[in-house]
C-alpha cells in the first residue's frame, strides 16, 4: 500500500495552482531541523510555532524570499516535524522549490492525503476527523462547512466514544458476573434499559442521515409546468437572487437546465425542465420522460400554473405531495388553490416564495434545529446502521431471555463494529479508500 513508506520526508504544494499572491508548501518528516537549516542557510535551530522571513536556497542558488514556519512533532498536524513555506505566488516558484528539494533527495512528492494519513497513523486524529478534513475542503456551503468543522473538532467522535464507554461498562459488568460471581446474575431489565439507551443515542445520530446527504449533495428543486408557464423566467430570477455556485449548463429547450445556488446555508440545485404537455412526437416524448424522472427524484417541485385547471396536472405528476404550487405571472393571472403568487416582472411574491422554499427545505430534512444535527458520511451511516441492527437484535434476544454468555458475545461484536467508525483494525482497504480521496497537500 502506497502510504507505507512513512519514513520518507514528504513535500507538496498545499495551495491550488494558478496566479495568486502566495503559495504554501508543506514538508513533513521525522526530524526536519537539518533540512530547515540547509535551505535557509542558518546555523541555529528553528523556533517552533513562529513565522519568520527567510530566503530559501538550494546549493547557494536563491529561490525566493519566503515566510517560513516550523512545527515540532509530536505537536503538529502530522505528529512529525513540519515546515511550511509561504512563497510567492504563480505556477513557477512553488514548483521550482519543490522540484529542487526533491532533486536534492531531501524529500519526495507527497501522495494525495498523505499528510492527513500520517496524522491518523500517529494517533493525532481518528478516522472521522480525517474524513472531516476532506469534507471541509469540499464544502461549498456554510452548513456543510460548519458541520465538517464540528466533526474535525471531535463532536461526532466524542459521542461515539461516549457510547463505546457506556457499552464497555455494561460488558464489563457481565464479564465480571460470568467470571467472578458464581451465583448471581445481572438483572435483565436493567441490562435491557442500558443497552437501549446506547441504541437510542445511535438512533439520534442516525436521524441526521437525510440532513447529511442533503447538505452534501444539495437539494434538488425541480421547476415544472406547461410550456410557457414562466419556468425559465423564475429560474433566472432565482439565480439572480441567490449566490450562483455553478454556472448554468446550456441545453436545448427539450433538455433540462441546472444551476446551483446557496439558500440560507443550503446547497440548492435548481432544475428547469422542458414544459410538460401531451405529444406524440418521439423526440418530444423523450423530453417529457426526462421531466417525469426529474420530478420523481426531486426533493421539492416548484410547479407553475396560470389557472385553476393547471393544478390537475401537478396532482397527476406529484403523488408524494412535495410540490409548492405557484401561480405565475400574478400581474395578469388570478386564481385560487395556489400556495403563492409570483410575478417575475415586478418581483411580487418572490420573497414569500423563498420563505416557503426554506420552510419546505426544513421539512424535507426534518429539522429546524441545525445545531442538533451531525454530519455523517455514507461510510459512517453504513456502520451506524449496522450498529442499530445489531443493537436491536440484542434487545430482541434479551426479551427472549438469552443467556449471558451469548449476550456478552453479542456485545463484543457490537464493540468491534463501533471501533470500525473511529479506528478500524486490519481494514487496509477502507483506510486506503478514504485517504486516496484526498487532494495532494492534505
Amino acid at each position: 500500500m502506497h502510504y507505507l513508506y512513512t519514513e520518507d520526508v514528504i513535500i507538496a504544494q498545499c495551495t491550488s495552482g494558478g496566479i495568486g499572491s502566495i503559495n504554501v508548501i508543506r514538508i513533513s518528516g521525522e526530524c526536519l531541523r537539518g533540512l530547515y537549516k540547509k535551505i535557509t542557510k542558518t546555523k541555529n535551530n528553528p523556533v517552533p510555532n513562529t513565522i519568520i522571513q527567510k530566503k530559501i536556497y538550494i546549493n547557494d542558488n536563491l529561490l525566493d524570499h519566503c515566510l517560513i514556519s516550523y512545527f515540532m512533532g509530536p505537536n503538529s498536524f502530522t505528529g512529525e516535524d513540519i515546515i511550511e513555506i509561504n512563497c510567492h505566488g504563480g505556477d513557477f516558484i512553488a514548483h521550482n522549490i519543490i522540484t529542487k528539494i526533491c532533486n536534492e533527495k531531501m524529500a519526495r512528492n507527497a501522495l494525495p492525503g498523505e499528510f492527513t494519513f500520517r496524522g491518523y497513523s500517529n494517533g493525532k486524529i481518528d478516522l472521522i476527523q480525517a474524513e472531516s478534513i476532506n469534507d471541509l475542503v469540499k464544502s461549498e456551503t456554510d452548513v456543510f462547512a460548519n458541520k465538517s468543522m464540528e466533526n474535525l473538532g471531535g463532536r461526532l467522535s466524542n459521542e461515539i466514544k461516549a457510547i463505546k464507554k457506556h457499552i464497555l461498562k455494561i460488558t464489563s459488568k457481565i464479564e465480571y458476573e460470568l467470571d467472578l460471581n458464581e451465583d448471581e446474575c445481572e438483572n435483565t431489565k436493567n441490562l435491557y434499559d442500558e443497552i437501549k439507551s446506547a441504541i437510542d443515542r445511535l438512533k439520534k445520530i442516525n436521524s441526521s442521515t437525510l440532513f447529511s446527504n442533503i447538505i452534501e449533495r444539495g437539494l434538488r428543486v425541480v421547476l415544472a409546468g406547461k410550456p410557457n408557464a414562466g419556468k425559465s423566467s423564475l429560474f433566472n430570477h432565482l439565480l439572480g437572487y441567490g449566490r450562483s455556485i455553478v454556472s448554468e449548463t446550456q441545453g436545448t429547450t427539450r433538455d433540462t437546465v441546472e444551476a446551483v445556488f446557496e439558500l440560507s446555508g443550503y446547497r440548492v440545485k435548481i432544475i428547469d425542465t422542458a414544459g410538460y404537455w401531451e405529444s406524440e412526437n418521439i423526440v418530444e416524448l423523450m423530453g417529457i420522460k426526462k421531466t417525469e424522472n426529474e420530478i420523481l427524484e426531486a426533493d421539492i417541485i416548484l410547479f407553475l400554473g396560470e389557472k385553476k385547471l393547471d393544478l390537475s396536472l401537478i396532482k397527476k405528476l406529484d403523488s408524494n405531495n412535495k410540490s409548492i404550487k405557484i401561480l405565475s405571472k400574478s400581474d395578469v393571472n388570478k386564481s385560487n388553490g395556489y400556495d403563492v403568487s409570483v410575478s417575475t416582472l415586478n418581483g411580487d411574491g418572490i420573497e414569500e416564495l423563498l420563505t416557503l422554499l426554506l420552510t419546505r427545505i426544513h421539512a424535507v430534512i426534518k429539522t429546524r434545529d441545525v445545531n442538533a444535527k451531525y454530519y455523517i458520511n455514507r461510510r459512517q451511516q453504513n456502520v451506524i446502521n449496522r450498529l442499530i441492527d445489531s443493537g436491536n437484535d440484542m434487545l430482541n434476544q434479551l426479551n427472549k431471555n438469552i443467556s449471558h454468555d451469548i449476550l456478552a458475545d453479542l456485545l463484543h461484536g457490537f464493540i468491534d463494529i463501533l471501533n470500525e467508525i473511529i479506528n478500524p483494525i486490519n481494514k487496509a482497504d477502507i483506510i486506503n479508500e478514504i485517504f486516496s480521496d484526498f487532494c495532494v497537500g492534505k
Binding site: M1, L4, S121, E175, D179, E182, S403, D405, I406, D409
Partner: protein, 601 residues
Amino acid sequence: MKHHDIAIAVVGGGHAGVEAALAISRMGRKCYMITMDPSAIGRMSCNPAIGGLAKGHLVREVDALGGIMGEAADQTAIQFKTLNKSKGRAVWSQRAQVDKIKYSKFIYDAVLADSNISIICDEVVDIGVDNSAISSCGLRSGRILNISSIIITAGTFLSGKIHVGSSSYLAGRFAEPPSVGITSSLVDLGFVTHRLKTGTPPRLLKSSIDWDKLDLSPGDDDINFFSIKTKGDHKIENIPCYLAHTNENTHKILQSNLSRSPMYSGKINATGPRYCPSVEDKVVRFKDRTSHQLFLEPEWAGSKQIYVNGFSTSMPEDVQIQALRTVRGLEECQLIRPGYAIEYDYFPTYQLKSTLESKTVRGLFLAGQMNGTSGYEEAAAQGLVAGINSVLSIFYDDSFIIRRDQGYIGVLIDDLITKNINEPYRMFTSRAEYRLSLRQDNADLRLSGLALKYGLLTKKHAKIYNDFLQEYQKIKNYLHKTKVKFNNKTQTLWDHLKKPESNIFNMSIKIPARPSVLFAVESETKYEGYISIQSDRVKNIKKLENIKIPRTFNFLGVPNLSSESLEKLMIVKPETLGQAIRIDGVRQSDVSMLSLYLYKK
C-alpha cells in the same frame, strides 16, 4: 543429537511436573522426575478444590488430551458442583472439592507405577548447555544427568520466601525448603526473572467452629464428572461446605493492623494476584463493602483441618486469629496453621515459544507457576503441553500447539507469551474470544482427535473416546434426519432443539446414548447460530493468525512504529501478526502499519 536412554528430565512433581512426566510416558518415552521430596508428588498446596470458573474448562481439556488431573479429581472428590448454572452453558464450570490426601496419593501412585518415570530425590543446581541446546543437569548430590531436554516446573520454590507478619523465612512451601540453584543457572543463560507474590489462607481446627451458625453450601446430586474415563455410576460422598461472612468489625481489625502486613509495610514488593486478593487487599480496595464471603472447605474426608477460602493473608498470626474471631460462627476458632504470603521468582513468558520451549535454548521448557500463573489447573495444562512438546522436539522435530479457537489451553499459552504478566495469571472465560465454542461439554470433541493424532491417549482412553464420538455422530445424524411436526410446521429435530424451551432429554430418541453425549449434541444445536456469528466476527483475527512473522524479521525496518510498540515487539518477537496484536502496550495503529507491511511482502 545423541539420545540417552532417558533424554528428558522433569524438575518438580507438582501439577505441572506430573502432567509433563505422564505425558512423556504415554508417548512411549522415558524421563527423570527430579524432586526434593517424592512424598510431595501431586500435593495440593493451597485450596482443596479442582476446577472452578474457567478452570473447570482447563481440567476437561487436560483430560481430553490424556492428562490425569480430571480423573484424579473425580476419584477423590468429596463434592461436585456446576457453577454459573444460571448463565448459559458455555460458562458452566465444574468444581470438585477433593480429599487432598487421597488426591495426592492417587497421583503419587500413578507416577510410581509408571515404569517410564525414574524418580530422583535431589535438587537441580545447574543446567548444562552445549551449542544452545540442553546437554545435562547437575544435582545437589553432585550427580550429573546427561539429557537433551529439561522441563522445569518449580512452582513457588525458586528463591521462595514466606512472610507471616514481620517474620519471614526462605521456603518453597509451608515447611518445605526453597530451591535456589535454578534461577541463577537460568539467569546465566540470559533469562530475565522477576518476583511475584501469592498467598494462602489459615487453616482452622474443625471442632473449634460453631457450624450451626454457618450457611450450608451443598454439592450437586446430579454430577457431571471431569473425565471421560470416569464411569457414569461413580459415586462420591457429597460432603457439604459452609459459608461465613466477614463484617465491619473484621475489617476494622484488619485496617488498624495494615502496617503489620508485609505487603503494606513495604516488606514485599512483588506483585500479588488481583483476582485472588488477600483479605487485607479486599478491605483496602473495596472500602464500601461491609462484608466479604468466606468459604469453609474440609481439606479431606473426616478432616479436622478446615480451609478458609477468601481469607488469604500475610498478617501476623495474632491479627489473623483476632480478625477471624469477629466472624459469626468462628468466635472460638483456633488456628492449625496461619495464612502466609510467599514471594518467588518467575520468568516472564515472552522468553518462551508457543510450545513453552525457550526461544534461545533448545530443549529447555518452563511450565507452571514459575511462568507467572496461579492455580493447579493452569499449571497442569502447561506441564502437559511442555511434556508433549519436549518429546516432539527431541524425537520428531515437530510441535504441538493448541490454537485459541481450539481450547482454553491455547488461550492460556498464547496469553502467556504475548501479555505482560505483572500479576499471577488466572484463567477467565472472558479471555477467550471463542468462548461460545470452547465449552466443557465439547472438550473431548475439540481435542481428543488431535490427541490421537499425536499418540497422546492410552489405548483405553482412545477406545472410550471413539465410542463417545460414534454415539455422538449417530445422535447427530438421527436429529438431522428425523422430522417432527410442531405448531403445524415440519422441521428436523435438530432445528427443533434450537428452541430455548426444547430439551433433548424429554425427546424419545430411539438410539441409546449416554447423557453426556446427548448434552453435547444439544449444546451444539443451541449454540450453532451464535457460533456462526462469532466466527464471522473473529474471521478477521484468524486471518491475522495465519500471517507468519519470520523469526529473523527486522521490526526496525517497519516504518513509523512508535518506540514503545517497537520495544515490545522486539522483546516478545511475535510469531504471527495475531500474536502481535495481542501484545500489551502495542498500539493498534502500529499493528495496522505492521499488517500493511507484511501483506505487501
